[in-house]
Each structure stands twice: as C-alpha cells, then as structure tokens.
Symmetry: C2
Subunit: 329 residues, 2 copies
DNA sequence: GCTTGCAATGTAAACGTTTACACATGCGAG
DNA sequence: CTCGCATGTGTAAACGTTTACATTGCAAGC
C-alpha cells in the first residue's frame, strides 16, 4: 500500500509538498500540484486516516450513543444522522447502551480512546445526574432527553406538552379511567408521565393506576403491564403508552382478551411507526419528527466541531397529534 | 490527558515497561507491574487507541455495511453484531448503503483508510460481480447475500428453499393466481423469486405477473406494486412479499381497497416483525433467524481476525414457517 | 546593486504508542 | 570459576502523517 513517501519520491517532491496539495494548503505551484495528483492517482494512494488523526488530532468519526437500537424512534434518528454526516465526510459509530449506565460509560470512554470527533447522545438518567462541566471535553449534542446541569446543545420535543395534549384528547372522548404506561429509565418517560398526570389533574381525574415501571421498556414490558391493568376489577377505559415498543405489547394483551378498540379500551401511543396505521383500528399517535431530530442534531454537532466556542442552543421540535380511530374518533 | 510517558516517569520505569504491563507481556516483575498499575489508576491513564493502531497496525473496530438501516431485518442483525463484538472489546461502525454501489464503495474505502479490523457486509449485486480475490485484503464475512466468486465466510439462509416452501403452502390452499413482489437489488430477492417460480412451475401455475422491481424496496414500492397487481382485470388470489417493508406497503394497498384477507387476497411475507402477529388477521410469515445471523457473522469475523488463515466456511441457518391466518389457515 | 519580503519547497520534529535490540543481572551446569 | 542462558529492563526506532522552521530564489523598492 502506497504511502505518502512513495508519492513524494515518484513525483520528485518532498512529503511536505504532497501533504500540502492533499490538504489544499496554499503555496504550491499549479504544475507541481498537478504532477502530485497524477502520481496519487497512478499509485492509488490514499492517506492513512489513523496517522492523520494521530498527528493532527482530529478524526472524521462521530459517535451516536442510543439506548435501544431496536426502537424505531432511534432507527429513524440513526438514519438521519447517517445521511447528514456522510455528506460532510464523516462516518458514524453506533453504540447501544440498553439504558445501562455502565455500558454508556464504556461507550463514552471509547470516544476518548479513539479520538472521536464528536458525539450525539441520548443519555440515561444516571449519566445526566453525574454530568459536570468537565465531562464535556468533546463536542456533544444531547437528543431526546432533558439535561439542565451542563451547557450543551440539545434537540428535543416538548414531551410534557405532547403527553398533555394527547391525554386531553382522550379525556375529551369521555373516558375517566385512563391508564398510562411509561418507561422510567429516561427523562423522556418521566416528562410524558408528567404531562399525562397534569391533564388528568385538571379534570380532577385520578390515574386509574399510575403505571410507570421498567428502566428499559420493551414489548414484553408493555404486555405484562397492560395485562395487569386489564385485569383490575375496574380496568381502564383508555390506555396511553410512551413508545411503540410498549404499544405493541399492549396491543398484544388487548388482542388476547378479545377486547374491542376503542369500545372496550381506547388506545393511543407515542411514535408513528410503519404499522400504526395498519392496525385495526388504526392507531391514534403522537408523531415525533424523528428524522428532523437526527438531522438537526447532526448539523449542530458538525457546527460545534468546526467552532467549539459557538453558543449553545436548545432546539425544540414540534410533535403532531395524528388522530385515527383507536382513541374513539 | 496523561500519556504513557507520564506514567513511566511517575512509576520510575521506562515507557517500554509500562507498555509491557498494559499489554500483558511477560518478563516484568510482579512488584513493578503492581506499581505501574497503581500509577495508571492514579493518573487515570488510558492508552490512546489511535497511536496503538498506528504503531501496531490493528484496531478494535469492525464495520457493518448494510443496505438499509430501516429494514427490521438488518436492525436485528445489527443488534446481534453489536452485542457479540462488544463482549470481545470491539466496537462497530455502521454504514448504510441504500443498495447503492457507489455508497458501498465509499464505505469499503473507509475501512482501508481507518484501518478497520474487519467487516460484515451485505453486498449489492454489482459489488459481488466485481469482487475478486484481491478485494479481500481485510477480514470479511458476507451475510444475507450469496457470493460465489471469492473465498469468504458466508452466513445465510436458504432463500430458494424458504420461498419455495411458503409458495407451496399458498398453493396448498388452492390459490392459482399468485403474485410475488421481490426486491431485485440483492441476490436475496432473486433467490426468493427463484424459489417462488419453482414452486409455481411444479404445479404448472403461471405467476399471475412476475412482479420484480425496485433495487431498493421500501414500503412505498410495495404499495405501488400491490396497487398495480390488485387493479389487474384478474387480480391475484394470493400475494407473497420478500420483506417486511414491502409487506407493509402491500397491506396498505389491500386496506385501501377494503379487501378482506384471506378471502379476497391471501397474503404471506418474509420476516416476522413486531407487528406481523398484530395484524388482522395475523400474518403468515417466513421467520429468519436474524439474531443468529448477526451473532454467527460476528463470531466468524472475530475468529478470522484472530486467525486469517483459517478455512472459510458457509453457514446456512434454518428459517421457520410461521402459519397464522393471512394465508387462509 | 543591495536590501526586503514573500512564494515555493524541503528538512526534520512531533503525535503516542509498540517493539527490536542491547544490556545487565543472576543462576545453574560443567 | 566460567560460560551460557533466561529474565528483567531500558533505549530508541518505527508506524504515516502534518507542520514549524529553515532555506532558496525571485521580484520589487530604493
């Protein structure tokens, strides 16, 4: 594999000159530049990024640290991030944390060790708590989760508001016993629960049971929790879940009992997935601008990498309430 | 940030010795080792992986190059790969190709440039065609796609057989006009089509229309293709799709026409997703051992990285036909 | 014609490791 | 008592770049 020295010799110049043409530095005669580029082409030379990184202390890799690779929300975000940074010559390294602070710590260490250019992070609650100014040595943007103790770029949706309004909508249908199922590993789940409770409170309704469990909510958790709810002496007339994985579990539980939606139980959830509209009846959902979130985060990150001293900003993107039929509409 | 030299000085030894203890080389007195480790701990020293990589020419990053980050099949594979290699100290870099050979080429270049340890690849047909012995300088395992022109580890399912048997099943229900929708960007789609056609041929049935289009099949493509099929003067009595994205599109098309499944059209697809069992009626599917595929591929890759001269193997994993009700059962 | 200054290029140090080689020490075998 | 060998440790080169600094040549200003 050709090295810069080979190119230099073949072109009859020094390595410094080769480097200069390859990094588009000034002060090199056009004819020399041309010659060098020809040799580069002829030899199929490609700069060794590892050496570049070591010497110049800058890499072209960014990390995306998320809590669940199997959550459609994060998949769509990943896609957006990937699309956006690739166009700028960066690559993305994906780290899955399973909402596990230890795994997350490992991933963050990795960034340091590999000299990663920057990171897009959906931090666990524990990590947020231990964040301090010193933690942020590396360009970082936080997504999906709320963080107040450090200065950092942040892109989110207004979870409280979104949960509040979908709950209001359910209340509007006349349901008074409403159950909520939220993941408690993240601030996201907590915020949504807060919006949910707030809406109920306004109408002097008590949450039939304040269902909030499981650090890392998956389909199974939705299923068992919904089962528990549906077997109460006074089961809920409506259920709200905070993500699509939980929603799938709840649907499963409802189906098993041959309950009709919305007549026996109404249902609504966060996240518009491929299949939400294909359910019978189609699901009423809070649609998050997932692609937007990923893209915005990626753009903010690249900007920060290029100018670490720029001011921090928090971007709140709008959600959209999609009314279909599972809520009673 | 502490460097190895700092550790060496603080411990009163040379950098060579520090390196030796950190890489578990022999010939270092236990007491020295202990002392060094204490200093490492005290200084919070972490080796710079970039420098390690440059000097020793070996990294701890593997790449996963897939065609569609949003396809549940690849998501599950990613998860498995991630789980598996993380336990062995590797990290994964995710590259999305959108079934686009150019993007794929860029990704493969990246591996060279970044000195990636190995790669798990689902290659496009074009790339497969241009594969040659020389292409494989880097440890590689191919998944999901068939490749014959080079020696390489390969983990797959028997697509022809799987498509054959699900088609047979549909035929068994008495349908004679059966349509198939396959993605043609990959050998996977082609193989499935072949199994499909073979089964029909055995029963002297002509595919109502041999629907095979779109290099990079997504929900939309399933929708438009199904629409076309369903509007034929003699529409199919049954439809088979080769992945879950296409399936979602087909479902959408069927729903729009208020057709009943399976009475008006029967339906079956590859890939058991979260929602397949939640459909009304639940979907009959060919379930691929996605997690297994990812895990096996990762294990093979690590083994090859550790021993590049080991013999190549092809692993064929079994699929499972899950009969639910959309086929007429 | 001599200085000044800038453009073009080369030389070599530096990035943070690993490792080949050299060296010192101690111990057992002859 | 010497030789040989294994063990423990240090010195410095090497990995492939970028870049600070030095050097050269040439044009312009006086």
């Amino acid at each position: 594999m050709a090295k810069i020295r080979d190119v230099a010799e073949a072109a009859g110049v020094s390595t410094a000159t080769v480097s200069r043409v390859l990094t588009n530095k000034p002060h090199v005669r056009p004819e020399v530049k041309k010659k060098v580029l020809e040799v580069v082409e002829a030899l199929g030379y490609r700069p060794n990024r590892v050496a570049q990184n070591l010497r110049s202390n800058s890499s072209k890799i960014i990390a995306l640290i998320i809590s669940d690779i199997e959550n459609p929300f994060f998949q769509r975000v990943s896609r957006a991030v990937d699309d956006t940074v690739h166009d700028l010559g960066y690559s993305v390294m994906l780290c899955n944390t399973d909402e596990n602070p230890e795994k997350e710590r490992l991933s963050l260490n990795l960034l340091r060790d590999e000299n990663i250019a920057g990171v897009i992070l959906a931090p666990t609650r524990q990590t947020i708590d231990t964040f301090s100014k010193s933690t942020v040595e590396i360009p970082m943007v936080i997504i999906d989760r709320h963080v107040t103790n450090i200065n950092v770029d942040n892109v989110m949706i207004d979870n409280i508001q979104a949960a509040y309004s979908i709950t209001k909508h359910l209340i509007g249908h006349g349901y008074s016993r409403i159950g909520g199922i939220f993941g408690m590993g993240s601030t996201t789940g907590r915020d949504r629960r807060e919006g949910f409770l707030r809406a109920l409170k306004e109408h002097a309704l008590k949450p039939i049971t304040e269902l909030t469990k499981y650090a890392h909510p998956r389909e199974e958790d939705g299923y068992t929790t919904a089962t528990k709810l549906l077997e109460l002496p006074e089961p809920p007339e409506a259920i709200l879940t905070s993500n699509s994985l939980l929603a799938a579990g709840v649907m499963q539980a409802i189906r098993e009992r041959s309950l009709r939606i919305p007549d026996d139980v109404a249902f609504a959830t966060f996240d518009d997935t491929t299949w939400a509209k294909l359910m019978v009846p189609p699901l009423t959902v809070v649609d998050q601008p997932t692609y937007e979130i990923g893209r915005t985060a990626a753009e903010l990150l690249i900007k920060r990498i290029q100018d670490p001293s720029r001011s921090y900003r928090e971007v709140i993107l709008n959600t959209r309430l999609i009314l279909r039929h599972s809520c009673g509409c």
